[in-house]
């Protein structure tokens, strides 16, 4: 397998297109390109850029999305485009998209995307899927459910929500030369490619467990038969107005942790808003009856999680080799889907997080990544046959090898 990465910080789409293509294609050389992945910051998310790249691709699929910043070996860029070209012998794949999620509903949109992906998949065995969805969609968990309806509950899917520059205004999805909002794009892969995934957040539970006694979708109405906000009111000794004022800190530093039977880590849920009636609006669903905890973390635990996730991805890819000796164990490219909240929390320390990843997977392994508004992956990443969940505040590292 060969992976080429091209980065451009130019402002003009034409120049960006040429630059990313030239850099990425040099590394592929004369080999056949199989598919392309593109991440751009919002200022460069344009149809003209996609058209330039698409014109250079000989019909191979391109998927991608917009982001607050893109991540690669040389750093984190707030105004840039990052193109990844993959070439892999014996690769089977199929890329697809779904539009108008709001109208269709997240569940049926997920089903539609899953259906399209499976339908035209060439080859006998599909191994995993990568997908990107609109970062502003409210029912991310349902989209996964829909996908799982078609792909199977334990089928490994790794995804990330597109983001913008924290304006929460519009996020974009790329599919070939088209640019969408309110959509999701994905690719199913199988054949000559192996993968290893690591996903971690670094937050630890604190205080006593509580039970969700009333919830609808991503809104928790009551916890232990009291208004949901009481969990924060008790811990921070502040009224609703005071909590709302500090929502930025509360949301990222002290999210709610969802206990899932048999999983190692808690599933995090950031608080998007606190309603006047005391309900908590979360980023992602919280089922009724869930056991929840208040979670606590800091920059150090965040950085440690980045290392653990990277090591896990490396180990998982190596582990595959044991079962299938014909496969390579080294990472040829690492995709990093890092939460935008972590970026806000780490600020200048974000570069430290990148260093952690590089240290763990190897300095020379090419890295392509972006900051997401949500991550989708199996929670217990080591046993990747686990069910995929909608995550918040994690860093997920997906290592690919040929």
């Amino acid at each position: 397998m060969k992976a080429g990465i091209g980065l451009s910080i130019q402002k003009n789409a034409l120049l960006v297109g040429r630059e990313v293509w030239d850099q990425a294609s040099i590394k592929i050389g004369q080999d056949k390109i199989d598919f392309a992945i593109l991440f751009t910051t919002v200022n460069l998310a344009s149809a003209s850029l996609l058209k330039i790249i698409k014109n250079k691709l000989a019909g191979q699929p391109l998927i991608g999305c917009s982001s607050q910043a893109v991540i690669t070996n040389s750093g984190i860029y707030k105004h840039a485009a990052l193109l990844v070209l993959i070439s892999c012998e014996g690769l089977n794949m199929n890329a697809a998209f779904v539009k108008d999620i709001k109208t269709k509903g997240a569940l049926s949109a997920g089903e539609e995307l899953g259906g399209k992906l499976v339908q035209e998949f060439t080859g006998s065995q599909r191994e995993f899927g990568i997908f990107f969805c609109d970062g502003l969609m409210e029912e991310g968990s349902k989209l996964i459910l829909g996908l799982q309806e078609r792909l199977g509950k334990s089928f490994p899917i790794i995804g990330a929500s597109a983001s913008d520059n924290l304006r929460f205004h519009k996020t974009y999805l790329f599919f070939n030369q088209e640019i969408f909002t309110d959509a999701a794009v994905g690719i199913l892969l199988g054949g000559g490619l192996s993968f290893g995934l690591g996903i971690k957040h670094g937050w630890k539970p604190l205080g006593k467990p509580r039970t969700v006694t009333d919830s609808h979708g991503n809104v928790i109405e009551r916890i232990d038969n009291k208004p949901a906000v009481s969990i924060y009111r008790d811990y921070f000794a502040k009224d609703i107005a005071g909590l709302k004022k500090e929502l930025k800190y509360i949301s990222t530093l002290y999210p709610i942790g969802l206990y899932l039977e048999g999983e190692e880590e808690y599933l995090l849920r950031n608080i998007l808003s606190i309603e006047d009636n005391g309900s908590l609006v979360c980023q992602g669903d919280i089922p009724l009856g869930s056991q929840i905890r208040l979670m606590i973390g800091n920059k150090e635990s965040c950085l440690l999680a980045a290392r653990q996730a990277s090591e896990e991805a490396k180990q998982n890819l190596s582990a595959l080799k044991l079962g299938q000796p014909q496969k390579y164990s080294s990472i040829d490219i690492a995709f990093v889907f890092d939460s935008a909240s972590r970026y806000s929390l780490l600020r200048r320390g974000a570069i430290e997080e990148l260093k952690m990843v590089k240290n763990a997977i190897g300095e020379d392994v090419p890295i392509a990544g972006f900051y997401t508004y949500g991550e989708q992956a199996p929670l217990k990443a080591i046993g990747y046959h686990g069910e995929a969940h909608f995550h918040n505040q994690t860093i997920s590292v997906l290592g690919l090898g040929g």
Binding site: K78, H79, N165, L166, R167, F168, H169, L206, G207, K208, D234, Y235, F236, A237, E246, L247, K248, Y249, I250, L253, Y254, L294, I296, N298, S344, R347, R348
Partner: protein
């Protein structure tokens, strides 16, 4: 009997079972009570842990907030440092604002930034910086600014930053947010010491931004630095204009002087040509006069009376003087016109000076003047035309003898000076008045002193040797004090 016994046994067994059950029950109850107590202890401990968690969380959030503020300040200071460097590297107004890039503003926590300067002549704000707004947006901002310019001018006059965090008037705050399409902002006046004032506006659409007094301070510092940079630019412009003016004047004067110099050169050439022509014309009859006078004096044409002989002697002497004058004039004009080229060859100054001392030995002896030549082997070699340099020494030492009272001293020394040797000829003579020092090398100039009144001279000697030295690419100058002697110094290229 058998059945009675069986009944008894069963009864006993039942009693035993009941007792056993009762004991087991009692133990269970005790265990349950123990468990209950443990559970209640655990519950208590859990509650206590939860209480501790509350304390931890409250401390933690405060710590995080402080850390965050600190991080933000450090990042802001870094950004400010970079910005300061960027804006202080230029002295041009447009460049100052061009150097403020999106990335700088983002490091300060903003993605939008504009700056306006007040144009007093046109009574309106002039846009000098735009980061983050498209054409339509900036047009709308400028339109709104025009409508409420009094408000913004008042803000500038207050000489204080305002922000969405500090502005008390909600109506104004909302209006600014609406006009500039932001949710948080900081606005600080740009106040150069003199000249145009204005304001810097930085804003963000991000809802989770928390602005503090620290941010306001940073933006105020930035606006002050812009003010300072504008002030520097203005002063530079002023100085530059003055310099331009000065340069123009210098250029004009230089041109005038060059023209004059050309004119002088022309006149000087005409003079040289004239002298050369006249001297030639003079020399021929002079040779005849001298020749005839000599013939007459030799009395080959018959004896001549004493009185005639005396007059003829005078004619002969004056003819010699005139011939010397003519020769010197001719030499000067030849050197000036480049007709004489110096035959530069390695020379030993000691040899030359020996010959000169020999030539002047009579004069030196007559006045009992000591000639002290302090030239070593190392400081004797020059590249020069021997005959011409002999003339220089004869002239200088001859002059020194002339103006040095009896029993005086003349010394000749030399020392290296870069690629040249500097030769000093000093005497203990009467010296040269200060006002005459600049003229001694001029043609026909003679210092006004009793000796010159008594002894005749052409006034061309020093002028001639100046020409000779300059033809060697050397320099000649004099230092003197009345009554304390003179030192003539000149340089010649080292051999």
């Amino acid at each position: 009997m058998y059945s009675e016994n069986l009944f008894n046994i069963l009864g006993l067994a039942s009693i035993f079972i009941i007792i056993s059950l009762a004991i087991a029950l009692a133990i269970k109850i005790e265990k349950i009570q123990e468990l209950r107590s443990s559970i209640s202890k655990l519950k208590k401990s859990l509650e206590e842990t939860d209480e501790q968690a509350k304390l931890i969380v409250r401390t933690d959030i405060e710590l995080n907030k402080t850390q965050d503020e600190l991080d933000k300040k450090i990042a802001g200071l870094y950004a400010l440092q970079r910005l300061s460097r960027a804006i202080s590297t230029t002295l041009e107004e447009t460049q100052i604002f061009m150097n403020i890039q999106n990335a700088h503003l983002e490091d300060l926590g903003f993605e939008k930034g504009v700056a306006f300067l007040w144009n007093n002549a046109e009574k309106k704000f002039r846009l000098t910086l735009n980061r983050g707004y498209d054409e339509e947006e900036i047009h709308s901002i400028m339109h709104n600014l025009e409508l409420s310019k009094e408000f913004y001018l008042r803000l500038i006059k207050q000489e204080m930053a305002v922000s969405s965090f500090s502005l008390q008037d909600i109506k104004h705050k909302e209006n600014i947010n609406r006009v500039f399409k932001v949710t948080h902002f900081i606005m600080s006046p740009i106040l150069p010491r003199e000249g145009t004032t204005g304001f810097l506006f930085l804003g963000t659409e991000s809802t989770d931004t928390i602005l503090t007094e620290g941010d306001e301070e940073l933006v105020t510092i930035l606006a002050n630095q812009i003010g300072q940079a504008l002030e520097n630019a203005r002063l530079f412009e002023k100085t530059w204009l003055a310099q331009q003016e000065l340069e123009k004047k210098v250029e004009e004067r230089t041109r005038e002087l060059s023209e004059l110099l050309e004119e002088i050169k022309k006149v000087s050439k005409r003079k040289t040509d004239f002298i050369s022509a006249v001297s030639h014309e003079l020399r021929t009859p002079l040779t005849s006069i001298k020749g005839y006078a000599s013939i007459l004096l030799s009395e080959k044409l018959g004896q001549i009376p004493k009185a005639v002989k005396e007059r003829l002697d005078k004619i002969n002497r004056h003819s010699d003087e005139l011939a010397q004058l003519v020769n010197e004039l001719l030499d000067i004009s030849r050197i000036e016109s480049g007709k004489i080229t110096m035959k530069l060859e390695p020379q030993d100054l000691k040899d030359i000076l020996e010959a000169v001392a020999d030539l002047l030995s009579v004069q030196l002896k007559t006045k009992d003047i000591k000639l002290d030549v302090k030239i070593t082997k190392e400081t004797a070699k020059v590249n020069a035309d021997r005959n011409q340099i002999e003339r220089v020494f004869i002239n200088l030492i001859g002059n020194a003898v002339k103006f040095t009272p009896a029993k005086g001293k003349i010394s000749v020394t030399s020392h290296p000076s870069d690629d040249f040797l500097q030769i000093d000829v000093s005497d203990t003579g009467i010296g040269i008045p200060e006002d005459a020092l600049t003229s001694v090398f001029d043609e026909f100039y003679r210092v006004d002193n009793p000796i010159n009144q008594e002894v005749k001279g052409t006034g061309l000697g020093l002028s001639l040797i100046k020409h000779i030295i300059e033809a060697h690419k050397g320099k000649i100058w004099v230092k003197s004090k009345l009554g304390q002697g003179s030192t003539f110094s000149f340089t010649l290229p080292k051999a």
